[in-house]
Symmetry: C2
């Protein structure tokens, strides 16, 4: 029989102690971690980068098919991804959790096991752990802290005309993983006897449930002495992110459909659902790849990198924001994003 410890049996402070006791400090800059009014970190000679996210059950995740351990891992990934997208190194996170009494201590332990695994993977220290009851569902607030050498951070607004648009890894898989899990959920709700059919879908489902942030790309930038002119992480779909860079840099762009990196598994999954793989890459989300722009003179540094694709370039704002399809026709690039799909808009 599975153990179930009621949260009330530990009390609020006992619970925080219980959940955070196995976290070891990984950064010398972490001076005071969890357990006081506030955490203290030291950033002599560095600049501090901060980001926060609020994740709400039923809006950002569905616990029917999301294991809590994966959710804990993904919470950290989503936040450190924003730190990497500034060309910085994540160093600490603060977590706030709200949960109704349907959750046991064991359930929270699962969540924290995932947080722990991600903290190890990305070398970050947990330095804040507020917990609270909620009237309904599971609510996660996460703040990530990172550091960067003075003025080495990369914003969204630094792209220049002629810069190359680059993207890491491949796109669209997480959206197809979601589509698949939503289908299996519907089938299960109609007939709980039917076992989920996830055969051959490990890649897309894995990309949704346990994404990784591209710390390797940030390390590569350092080794290659390459500083992108602008950067953003791909959480809402490629087109939405490109449009952010265009808007904030006051530029237009040209994107080539044939250059958009899409994994073979993603293409196959898309075809099964009668979806266009390019649309999934453009308007799906949660891939947590990095979209960045580089000066043309840096092209030689990225051209051999197996995890970086050049997908287009930046142009005068007056030239518009354009995508050339494989057939050679020209369309305006529009942002639909994740939400458009959820509403059946794509």
């Amino acid at each position: 029989m599975e153990e179930r410890t009621e949260i009330a049996s530990l009390g609020e402070f006992g619970l925080i102690e219980h959940l955070t006791k196995n976290f070891e400090i990984q950064n010398a800059s972490t001076i005071v971690p969890v357990g006081d009014d506030a955490a203290v970190i030291d950033h002599y000679g560095k600049q501090t980068v901060l980001t926060n996210d609020l994740l709400i059950e039923g809006v950002h995740f569905d616990l029917m098919y999301t294991p809590l351990k994966h959710l804990g891992y993904k919470t950290v990934v989503v936040n450190v991804s924003d730190i990497y997208a500034m060309n910085a190194t994540p160093t600490q996170i603060l977590l706030g959790l709200g949960f109704s009494n349907r959750f046991s201590v064991e359930a929270l332990d699962e969540f924290y096991a995932g947080v722990h695994a991600a903290c190890d993977e990305y070398g970050v220290d947990l330095i804040g752990g507020d917990t609270s009851t909620s009237q309904k569902g599971f609510i996660i607030s996460c703040t990530a802290v990172g550091e960067v050498a003075p003025d080495k951070y990369v914003r969204r607004n630094g792209a220049k005309k002629g810069d190359l648009l680059c993207v890491s890894g491949d796109l669209g898989a997480a959206f197809l993983g979601l589509t698949l899990l939503e289908r299996e959920k519907r089938i299960f709700l109609e007939n709980p006897q039917v076992q989920p059919d996830l055969e051959g879908e490990k890649y897309t489902v894995g990309r949704l449930l346990k994404p990784e942030a591209r710390k390797d790309i940030i390390r590569f930038f350092e080794e290659a002495e390459l500083t992108p002119t602008a950067m953003i992480d791909v959480s809402d779909g490629l087109s939405s992110e490109i449009l952010h860079i265009c808007k904030q840099s006051n530029l237009g762009c040209v994107l080539y459909e044939e250059k958009i990196p899409i994994a073979e598994e993603t293409r196959e999954a898309a075809f099964k659902f009668n979806l266009d793989p390019t649309t999934c890459a453009l308007s799906g989300g949660e891939d947590y790849e990095l979209l960045f722009t580089i000066s043309q003179s840096d092209y030689d540094k990225v051209k051999e990198h197996p995890q970086i694709s050049v997908v287009g370039f930046l142009n005068e704002a007056e030239e518009g924001r354009i995508i050339y399809t494989k057939g050679g026709t020209k369309h305006a690039l529009t942002a639909q994003g994740w939400n458009a799909f959820n509403k059946g808009g794509a």
Copy 2:
């Protein structure tokens, strides 16, 4: 007629822009504020202090009697209070908001007006503004960042035997404000014709709905060249906070009931409800005063301060954690906190 703009009409990014456009940067250390993947702050020669809080409708606040503007103000106060409790100066905050579609843009504007007023009052910059829909209710996540000269932060665990227990301002008022508003809510729900009776209760209700954090006390410490040995803010009631300091400093304590500062308005309100004012101060919460310990040799620095009361001293752990009542009897100090009241436990 009141204006009502649907949030969907602005879109997520339009909404953040709309809500944050009037915030001016107040700290030179704020390099990149709201609007990128992450914020960037500069802390050369200082240490960074961080804290976060998750506030959930129906758990931490009741919108039936909490104006959204006050709630925005209080959100900032609650977080900067934790920064002051480290003897640090708050410099930035990051906000995450979740809200269902019952909220209009005007409602969020009200909330942000309160945030803005508090940012001005406490000199902090808003540097992060994640927003999200929620399935139910209003959810607030707030992270505050502060700075402190190297190794000048004050933790909960630094108290020594013989140190004096001091508290700022007065206690118990916020709990009585809550008791009153809960009573008026019940009366209103039973008979919506009855007007709320808040005559003479401005002080207690104000302490609940629009608390202030004690930046004046932190400034006084600096001017008086006084560094407390331990400090915590009073959010859960005096006894709970004293026990935190005792536990983390591995000490016992003696507290004198007659020394606990309670405002005349608080006493009067307590008597109306047949409550003991001391119990309200010990076990109520949300006063956001500072509880701190100082070496006896620093007594002369605080003895004339009209906003600081010496309420007891720290002792060997073996001597226990004790309160002497006005009648001279001796009791063990126990933590009941805010929740005990809500459950009718006090």
